[in-house]
């Protein structure tokens, strides 16, 4: 029974609150077969867009901003940054 003029600036957890941030990317991380599934990329990814599934890292390109942290922290250099151009 809330009157229709009521409006509260309440928000809820949802993916993409900052938009489809994959569009920000100019270089993309690509996981090669060297991946050992150690989870270093998962631990440090600032966006939560990289997950190890079945011993191999997978990137969520909808939101990955292409910062390259994953490639930098990978102990076996299994991630390469590839131009989106």
């Amino acid at each position: 029974m809330l009157p229709n003029y009521q409006f509260f600036p309440v928000s809820h957890p949802e993916e993409g609150a900052g938009g489809k941030t994959g569009n920000w990317r100019v270089v993309r991380p690509e996981v090669t077969s060297k991946c050992i599934g150690c989870n270093a990329c998962f631990l440090w990814c600032p966006e939560g867009t990289i997950m190890v599934k079945g011993n191999k890292a997978e990137v969520n390109y909808v939101y990955c901003k292409g910062c390259g942290v994953c490639a930098n922290v990978c102990p076996v250099k299994a991630i390469t940054m590839v131009s989106e151009a």
């Binding site: 957890p13 609150a17 600032p46 390259g68």
Partner: protein, 295 residues
Amino acid sequence: MSLALRDLRSKSLLPGTSACPGCPENMAMRMVGMALGNDVVMVVVAGCSSVIQGIGPKNAYGYPVLNIAFAAGSAAASGMWRALRQRNKDTTVVVWAGDGGTADIGFASLSGAAERNENFIYLCVDNEAYMNSGGQRSGSTPHGAVTSTTPEGKKENKKELLFLMLDHHIPYVATASVGYPHDLIDKLRRAKNIEGFRYIQVLTPDPYGWLFDPSRTAEVAKLAVQTCYWPLIEVSHDKVTVSNESLHCLKKETRRPLRDFTSLQGRYKRLSEQDFQELEKYVDYLWDRISKLMD
């Protein structure tokens, strides 16, 4: 101190945030989620994190957040945990603030809440300047760093929040770095089980303010620890512990050269030899005080 992956699911941050690529604060936020689980509410003071959450009615943070004015974080959390306790909730209340909100404008309310030993975790994500408004100097900016308000390089030393908070006689004070997630996660988990005011300051190197390549965020965060610029230390009920990653800093001879840390960053581009020595003196002083704490 190894953590299994199943322990590290994080619901604190959902992809598609408004953070800059390579954001260290997002790293820290995800680590908070890995450490504290789901029964958490947050107070976020003005700063990058006010923006990172994205645009309402969506929110990129997985925790319920009260966004609040710059200086009011500790006060709001003081009211919040009491309200939750009255409603018989065991929820962990976390204040999330930058170094400006901690060392400068929010310091009075932080100090007040600490003195009252309010029951919440205060997390300072320290990127050593007002990064959200374009990288202006804060009380937490180190000597020599160029910021948009100290184009000549800051002439004063970083405010020592670690020691200031220790002097509040609170049950838990710790420092951490996003370069060492396990260390941070362990500390957060220990803090969670302590009652009273808990203060954790996390170094979050900002690629855009410190001027380094964003892919190197974690690397710079590690170098800060390795060169002993940033200590990993914990004081829990007066018991002082220096993390393994920082033990080598206790002796001057075993420290990694500070240049390895500064040379990666554009903010030190104006660093004269004298400034550098000043910064080294600061590191010596820091570890002298920590050594004394351990006696």
